[in-house]
Symmetry: C2
Subunit: 320 residues, 2 copies
């Protein structure tokens, strides 16, 4: 069986690189952190690599200080790519392709429906039905008869919790909640998790969110809601670019809208648009493509040259 | 066994009044709606009473149109009080005491740790460990071998979901998530629930929230965060007083603060303060008491005569 093959690979080798996706989220970080701990306990020499730094809300996860931003090909016998639906999302696609060809020890553990890593990986533990990669890691640990301690339970719960939007999204299946129940029994600390990953915004961040919300505009014909954040706003609120994350998702919860767009001025003096939709019939990546951007059906974005100007009671984009 | 006694009572009588608490929440409404449906199917004549109207987010629950705001004592053989931790929370305490004495058929189904209805009720199905009254109703239905259909599953899931703050609060126990998993298997419609009870704010509401957030102020010595909403804001945003609900809870998620206060002008031209805390060591009802208000340890409020004025870069309360 596939899962046995994966276990035997992991058991056989020592120098194992765990790779997670760019702009890491709770699931990829949690799944990797757990696997790292398990491998350590097995006496292996694992390493963790991620192109981008760990966002503040996830710094409470174990092993976050072990994450390195680059790696040397030759240092590893095996690479496990975790939660990367897309080869490019790893940020190391060229090297991965090379590794897969030469060393034939690339393992792909993921739950994304459009996973294309299987094209190059040598072993694919991919379950499209799983809510999260953490859910797959749980199944793997069950099979390996690994004892789930408090730390592991807390991390896996974080993965399940964040990837289902707090058990709200349609990827929450009965199995997901059953596993969450098991993790609670093993000591998963919900409060610690939600204190970190739920809103938990600082005063500057909340003020910035407030500015964006107070400027909401609904385009009644298009049924699109939008807002803007300027560089001056960030300064006035003492906020940072990190604080912008999540604003567009919040706007996207407004009922009866087809899409939500947040325009914000980047440090480079451009305008970045983040687009989201909850409507299954809308593909926002097509909207982003018009402006030379890209992304997924439900989340996309583009960048244009321009400035945001307040002119006669409304916000306008002035192209440069 | 107690639960059998309750079942036999319910089975024996026909004219059953289900009573829920004032300012009803998702749990009390869901639990009562489910019990109402079950009794109907059993050929009984149930009625539903609640002192206050159903808040908009819960109108999607079944049987909400059946809720009456008053009742006649003599019309019922038995009263089941659902999710009322406190006799006064029913809004009908005097009549209930009378009923309990005379008819000896007052049943109390609840999960609140400080439930005092047991002092007058004739049968008490009270489980302090349960996340919600809906969780207790689930157990009751299991015992009664009632088939859980999609509607019932959706309602009970709503009760579990709302009373645990979306499975976030510490009353979420493994059993709660296991029941949630069972409810999902029986067709509970998470998306319908979360679309209704999650943020789901209209543009005017979001703008109003934005205004409040953009004016956040942190009193560094007291570690209190506060904000203000004026009557003019409501007008400018086309928002209603209903839209203010939740703002103070949002502000209360700011880390490293001891309490959150929202001041808003009431339609009567006074200032209402809503106070919240997440700090177990803080009792905000004592703060409210100083100004002649009241409430609970974690949520309280007071009303004073005055106006909110913006003066030299900050908001001030001008007493009248």
């Amino acid at each position: 069986m596939l899962i046995d093959k994966i276990i035997s690979k992991i058991t056989h080798f020592d120098k194992i690189l765990l790779m997670i996706h760019e702009n890491p989220d709770g699931d990829t970080l949690a799944a990797a952190a757990v696997l790292y701990q398990v491998l350590k306990k097995m006496g292996k020499c694992p390493a963790l690599v991620c192109k981008d730094p760990v966002p503040r809300p996830f710094l409470f996860l174990p092993e976050m200080d072990k994450i390195q931003s680059d790696f040397l090909f030759g240092d590893f016998e095996i690479i496990v790519v975790i939660d990367c639906g897309d080869i490019r999302r790893t940020g190391f696609d060229a090297r991965l392709k090379d590794f897969a060809k030469k060393k034939k020890n690339l393992i792909n553990i993921d739950h994304h429906p459009k996973n294309d890593l299987h094209k190059i990986a040598n072993l694919n533990l991919v379950d499209y039905e799983a809510s999260s990669t953490s859910e797959i890691i749980w199944q793997l640990l069950q099979k390996m008869k690994i004892e789930i301690d408090k730390n592991i339970a807390t991390a896996l719960f974080t993965g399940l919790y964040t990837d289902t939007g707090g058990f709200k999204h349609s990827n929450t299946r009965p199995k997901t909640l059953e596993i969450a129940a098991e993790l609670l029994k093993r000591g998963a600390r919900i409060k610690l998790i939600t204190q970190n990953v739920s809103l938990n915004k600082t005063v500057p961040a909340m003020k910035l969110w407030g500015m964006a919300l107070s400027r909401l505009h609904r385009h009644s014909e298009l049924k699109i809601v939008s807002s803007v954040i300027t560089r001056k706003d960030l300064k006035d609120c003492l906020a940072t670019y990190d604080d912008i994350a999540g604003v567009v998702n919040l706007i996207n919860t407004i009922p009866d809208s087809k899409a939500a767009i947040l325009f914000f001025e980047t440090p480079e003096g451009k305008i970045r648009a983040s687009i989201r939709t909850e409507d299954d019939k809308v593909d926002v990546s097509r909207l982003a493509a018009i402006f030379g951007g890209g992304g997924h059906k439900k989340a996309s974005g583009f960048t244009i040259d321009g400035k945001l100007i307040f002119d006669k009671e409304s916000w306008k984009i002035v192209l440069e």
